[in-house]
């Protein structure tokens, strides 16, 4: 029989306001096995933990039940506390009477009743707990960063600088991501490429960093410390070792002039050849052949690039290659894109080339962009006089099929930036910004926005635009309302810029599934704890960096990237990780070697062995299941598949769960 101590936490008033804590203590005191029961204001505090340690020593407790917040919150704390007092940490069970009781129920009597039942279930379970010992698994000292934007670059650099090897997998031909498309950055108006390109070069030259561009993660297996990842290196059709990046091939590609292949990097504002580098500062400076569009791949004729290449680097025969690498940790930095605007017909984005998105405007204002940095209308190449900015296009939408429910966070600031930059270059441009709210929390952010209004006289009008109507004369008629002045407005504009909502890169879903990392309804990756573990996924060994986790600007992305890197370094610095001792175990006497468990095991942790068993005095050799404890992750799939009940899961054994059911149904 166990000697169980029950500790009920008030959690200030979080629990005590709706659960009669004293009554719970009284009611569980006489449960089987309980020798001690007490309550305390904050069980997780130092004084609370002292109390537990003292009780363990004084009463010789062999099991603990803590009635407090969710075990996801403090199970670790209390296990460590038990260990300090010399008790096996797995002799602790937590009854969740905060998140699953006091916080959701209003009636005190009802909540108290439920708390008692939850406590009883935990007590019943502890009675059957057995001391468990954690195993050890080695850590592969190498990290993988998925995504080569500013988030991935910064994470990789920080990890590499700490002395660990890092691989970056980027699906585009070059690293740089969204930031490389930007012209200037707010609120300092730094030139984006001036601050990004040195980092890109550093990544390329860093001895600890291996770049896989034009590559995708194909398959992930394993677990924290021991991931095995298949990376597909798509055929570039150019030998990276021979290529000097001279650019002759792109310049001579016949499709450059007649091909009509929209440049992804320039958001379709200009065309690119079939053999191309996304932009001049691309890292690595090695072009790729777009096989879908290349004449040689379509018809077998042409071959101009191969003929022209001075270093004979073009290789039409190149094949996709799959490399398998082992990693200890994986960082997801897959970034974002803007939403598709097809559903916003009222803004005429698909009708008029002069209605553009903000990211297209970035390209139009970029000196390396399609217009050489000269702002002009895509329809007639004239400089726009009147420009209208529309905020929150697709952000803050309640209807899910149309837009996103969240605020995209960066649009207010980049719109102020755009307005100021345009006014700086062409002071006689009239700029009107239609906003719902202007949100500028951040260091020097509101000052920045006010500068747009006060110094540059940008006209900010509160009111969402209703409709944009392309006119026969080529201008755009914008119908809006000034809610503060109570006027409906119809104004002519030469150009309309839409602040389209951002969304996580659509590929993140696939990647999250491969990593078994959780993802929320908006496809943002979920963090292990919204406040206390913001850069970790609930799946151990998976870390989050940048927009993949939620909308954020560049400074925030860089700091999150650093934080993720620190977490990775903390993991890689260990030689061994403690493994979860809640693993499956086979009762060799019951096992009949049917292989059902091995078939359902997702980790291949079950093998079969011939062992000698003594069954009722009979010695015989049987084929029975063996669990490889280093591989078993404790999911329990085998336990419910086993027809003879031989498989059981330590810490969540059949008897333990059954007794919990009994306690609840008592």
């Amino acid at each position: 029989m166990q000697k169980i101590g029950v500790f009920v936490c008030h959690c200030g008033t979080n629990i005590a306001a709706t659960v009669d804590v004293k009554k719970v203590v009284e009611l569980v005191r006489y449960e089987p096995g309980v020798v001690y029961a007490d309550d305390y204001m904050y069980m997780c505090s130092e004084a609370g933990q002292e109390k537990i340690i003292e009780a363990i020593k004084e009463y010789g407790l062999t099991g603990l039940v803590i009635c407090s917040c969710s075990p996801r919150m403090h199970e670790k704390t209390f296990r460590a506390c038990a260990e300090k007092a010399g008790l096996n940490p797995y002799m602790v069970e937590v009854a969740n009477i905060r998140e699953q009781c006091s916080w959701i129920h209003k009636d005190k009597e009802e909540a108290t009743k439920k708390a008692v039942i939850l406590a009883r279930a935990a007590i019943a379970k502890v009675n059957l707990n057995t001391p468990l010992k954690e195993g050890e698994s080695p850590v592969t000292k190498r990290a993988l960063v998925i995504g080569g934007g500013i988030a991935g670059i910064q994470t990789a650099l920080d990890i590499a600088d700490a002395g660990y090897e890092v691989d970056i997998v980027e699906k585009e031909p070059s690293i740089g991501g969204r930031m490389s498309q930007f012209d200037k950055t707010f609120p300092t108006l730094d030139c984006a490429s001036c601050i990004l390109t040195p980092k890109m070069v550093e990544v390329n030259q860093h001895p600890n960093i291996t770049l896989y561009t034009y590559s995708e993660v194909e398959k992930v297996s394993g677990y924290v410390g021991n991931f095995e990842v298949d990376i597909r290196k798509k055929a570039r059709s150019v030998d990276a070792d021979k290529c000097t990046g001279c650019g002759e091939c792109s310049a001579k590609c016949p499709l450059g002039k007649i091909g009509n292949i929209p440049s992804e990097f320039d958001r379709g504002l200009r065309n690119r050849p079939a053999i191309y580098m996304p932009f001049a500062q691309a890292v690595p400076a090695v072009p790729v052949i777009d096989r879908e569009n290349c004449t040689y791949f379509k018809t077998g004729k042409c071959g101009v690039c191969a003929k022209i290449c001075p270093s004979k680097a073009v290789d039409y025969e190149q094949q996709d290659e799959i490399v398998t690498v082992k990693y200890g940790a994986i960082v997801v930095a897959t970034g974002f894109d803007i939403i598709n605007l097809d559903k916003f017909g009222e803004y005429a984005y698909n009708e008029s080339p002069d209605v553009i998105t903000s990211i297209e405007l970035e390209r139009l204002m970029n000196a390396a962009g399609p217009t050489g940095g000269h702002l002009e209308r895509m329809s007639d190449h004239k400089q726009p006089k009147d420009i209208v900015f529309i905020q929150c296009v697709g952000s803050r939408c309640d209807s899910e099929e149309k837009g996103k429910p969240y605020c995209s966070k960066v649009c207010c600031m980049y719109t102020a930036k755009h307005a100021m930059l345009i006014k700086d270059h062409w002071p006689d441009t009239n700029i009107t910004v239609f906003y719902i709210d202007v949100r500028t929390p951040g260091k020097n952010f509101d000052e920045f926005y006010r500068r747009a209004v006060e110094q540059y006289h940008v006209n900010y009008i509160k009111g969402q635009v209703g409709k944009v109507m392309p006119q026969p004369d080529g201008s755009l008629l914008v119908q809006a309302a000034d809610l503060l002045d109570g006027k409906q407005i119809r104004m002519k504009a030469d150009m309309v810029v839409l602040a389209a909502a951002i969304e996580p890169n659509p590929d993140v879903r696939k990647i999250a599934t491969m990593l078994t990392a959780s993802i929320d309804n908006n496809n943002f990756l979920t963090e292990a704890h919204a406040k206390l573990r913001p850069v970790e996924s609930p799946t151990a060994g998976i870390f989050l960096s940048g927009m993949a986790q939620g909308p954020k600007d560049i400074p925030e992305t860089v700091s999150q990237a650093g934080a993720a890197a620190v977490k990775v370094i903390g993991l890689l610095a260990k030689d061994h990780l403690k493994t979860n001792p809640c693993t499956a175990q086979c009762d060799t006497l019951l096992c009949n070697g049917c292989s059902t468990c091995a078939n359902v095991c997702p980790y291949g942790a079950i093998t079969y062995d011939d062992v000698q068993v003594m069954d009722h005095g009979l010695r015989e050799t049987r084929r029975v299941a063996q669990v490889n404890l280093a591989l078993c992750q404790g999911c329990g799939a085998c336990t419910s598949a086993c027809p003879s009940g031989a498989m059981d899961l330590q810490g969540f054994s059949n008897r333990q769960i059954t007794t919990e059911v009994d306690a609840i149904c008592r």
């Binding site: 803050r396 209807s399 149309k402 719902i436 009111g463 969402q464 635009v465 809006a480 109570g486 409906q488």
Partner: protein, 131 residues
């Protein structure tokens, strides 16, 4: 109109219209889109607040309530699914119900038809007087 409390009245409007006035974030896209803007004394983006405040009488006494063409522009474009057009329609329906006049016989329809009557209005009227 003799409602005991604002909450139940809002609930009723919610039920009839199927949209929630509390979701309105005052973006003004409805007002920007409204073709009857000039005729309205209360603007579409204000409908939600009139209903939340319980000033339904005032809303119904306004010109706005009956100048709505039921063109559905605000319903189509509202990013919050508040749909001011439906709200004001629900308020009008509520008034009709108070009068006990929420029935319309099929034979009454032809005499209401006019050459220049927008079809949308007809559809909207059916919606209002159905049951």
């Amino acid at each position: 109109m003799g409602f005991t409390n604002v909450e139940s009245q809002v609930e009723l409007i919610k039920e009839i219209s199927g949209s929630d006035p509390y979701k309105c974030m005052k973006c003004g896209k409805c007002t920007a889109s409204c073709p009857s803007y000039d005729e309205m004394d209360i603007k579409p983006h204000q409908f939600a607040s009139y209903i939340i405040r319980g000033d339904i009488d005032e809303l119904l006494e306004s010109k706005a309530a009956f100048k709505c063409l039921a063109c559905f522009a605000c319903i189509e474009r509202c990013p919050r699914d508040v749909q001011p057009g439906r709200l004001v329609d629900a308020a009008r329906q509520l008034q009709e119900r108070q009068r006990g006049g929420d029935y319309m016989q099929p034979e009454e329809v032809p005499e209401l038809l006019a050459e220049d009557l927008p079809q949308q209005l007809l559809v909207s009227a059916f919606r209002r007087y159905r049951r």
